[in-house]
Symmetry: C2
Subunit: 178 residues, 2 copies
DNA sequence: TTGCGGAGTTAGTTATCAGTCACTAACCTT
DNA sequence: AAGGTTAGTGACTGATAACTAACTCCGCAA
C-alpha cells in the first residue's frame, strides 16, 4: 500500500477513535492497532499526533459537506431543506461522525488557548465551505441557514447527552421545512 | 476550612480546569495546585477523578439555571426572551462556563460508551431542570424553547471555533425575541 | 547481481498521570 | 493533660503516553 493510501486509512480510523475518546483520551497506539500498522509508523506518515487529528478533522468536515451536496442533487428548491435534514439524520446515525464534530469544537478552542492559531484557521476554512454550501443550497436566506445549522447542533447535543428520541426535549425540534 | 467548604472550592477550580483541558486533558495535580491543596488530598475530598468532574459538571449546570431564573425576575412576559438571551451572553463571557458545557457533552457520551450509565442520568436530570426552567420562563411553547436553546448551542459552537463576532456565520443568529 | 528507495518493524527513552501509604499538625472534648 | 478527630502533606508506584533510533524486508532498475 502506498504511503498516501495508508494515510487515508489512518485518517479514517483516527476519526473514529478521536470521536470516541477525544484528543487527549485517544492514544496513538489504539489508532495504530485499528489501522493495523505499528505505532511508530504513524509518526512516519504524520509528523505528530496533532497532524493525525487534523487529518481526521478535515475528513469529518468534508464528508459532511459532500453528503449535503449529494442529497440536494436534482431536488426541487422547496424540498431541499427536508432533503438536507434527512441526509443529516442519516449521516449522524454514524455516531463517530457526530461526536467528531463535537470533539473538533473543543479541540479547536483548546488549540487556540495553547497559542496554536493555525489549527483554528484550518477548521474555520473548512467550516466556511460547509456553511457556504448549505447556505447556497437552502436558497441564501441567512435566517433559514441559521435555523438549519442550529437545529443540527441541538440534535448533536441531545444525542451526546443520551436523550432517547421520545424524550420531551425533542419536542419543537424542526427537522423538516416549515 | 471545613471539608464541605473545601469541596466547593475544589469544584469551582475544577470546572475552570476541565473546561480548558477536558476530562483526560486535565491532571488532578493542576486542579490541586490552583485550589492550593495537595494532590493526594483531592482523593480524600472526592472518591476519584470522575467524582471531581461530576461536581464541576453540576456546578456548571446549576449556575446556568440560576442565572436564567434571576434574569427573568420581575420582567414582563413579552420581554423574557430578550432578558434570557442577554443573560446568556453575559454568562458565556466567562468562557470557562461555555466550554464546560461542551466538555460535559462529550464526557457524557464517553461515559455512556464506557458503560457508565449513572453519569448520563445525573447530567440529564440536571439538564431537565434547566430545560423546564427555561421552558416555563419563556411561556411554555416548545417551538420557542427549542429556538432559544438551539440558538444558544449554535453560539457555543461559533465561539468555540473562534469565529470573530463580525463573521458572516453570525448573520441570522437571533438573540432577541422576534 | 547488486544497490537503492520506500514500506514497515522492534526495541527503547523520557515524561506524566491517577491513586496509595504513612505520616504530621492543629483542634476539640472531657 | 489525655484521647480522639479532622485537615492536610511528601514520597512513592505501576501503568501508559508520545516520540525516536536503528533496523529489516522487498520490488525494481542498471
Amino acid at each position: 500500500m502506498s504511503a498516501e493510501e495508508r494515510r487515508r486509512c489512518v485518517a479514517a480510523v483516527a476519526m473514529s477513535e478521536f470521536a470516541r475518546g477525544g484528543y487527549e483520551g485517544t492514544s496513538t497506539e489504539s489508532i495504530a492497532r485499528r489501522a493495523e500498522v505499528s505505532q511508530p509508523y504513524l509518526f512516519r506518515l504524520f509528523s505528530n499526533k496533532r497532524a493525525i487529528f487534523l487529518a481526521a478533522t478535515r475528513l469529518c468536515l468534508t464528508r459532511t459537506r459532500d453528503t449535503f451536496v449529494e442529497a440536494a442533487e436534482g431536488v426541487p428548491p422547496n424540498q431541499v431543506y427536508g432533503a438536507l435534514a434527512g441526509a443529516y439524520l442519516e449521516l449522524i446515525a454514524d455516531t463517530d461522525l457526530l461526536m467528531m464534530q463535537m470533539q473538533v469544537q473543543v479541540a479547536t478552542f483548546q488549540a487556540q488557548q495553547r497559542g496554536d492559531e493555525e489549527f483554528g484557521q484550518i477548521v474555520r476554512r473548512d467550516w466556511n465551505e460547509l456553511y457556504d454550501t448549505v447556505h447556497l443550497l437552502l436558497g441564501g436566506d441567512p435566517a433559514i441557514t441559521t435555523e438549519f445549522l442550529s437545529s443540527g447542533m441541538m440534535i448533536n447535543t441531545w444525542v451526546a447527552l443520551g436523550y432517547p428520541p421520545e424524550d420531551r426535549v425533542w419536542t419543537g425540534v424542526r427537522l423538516s421545512s416549515g
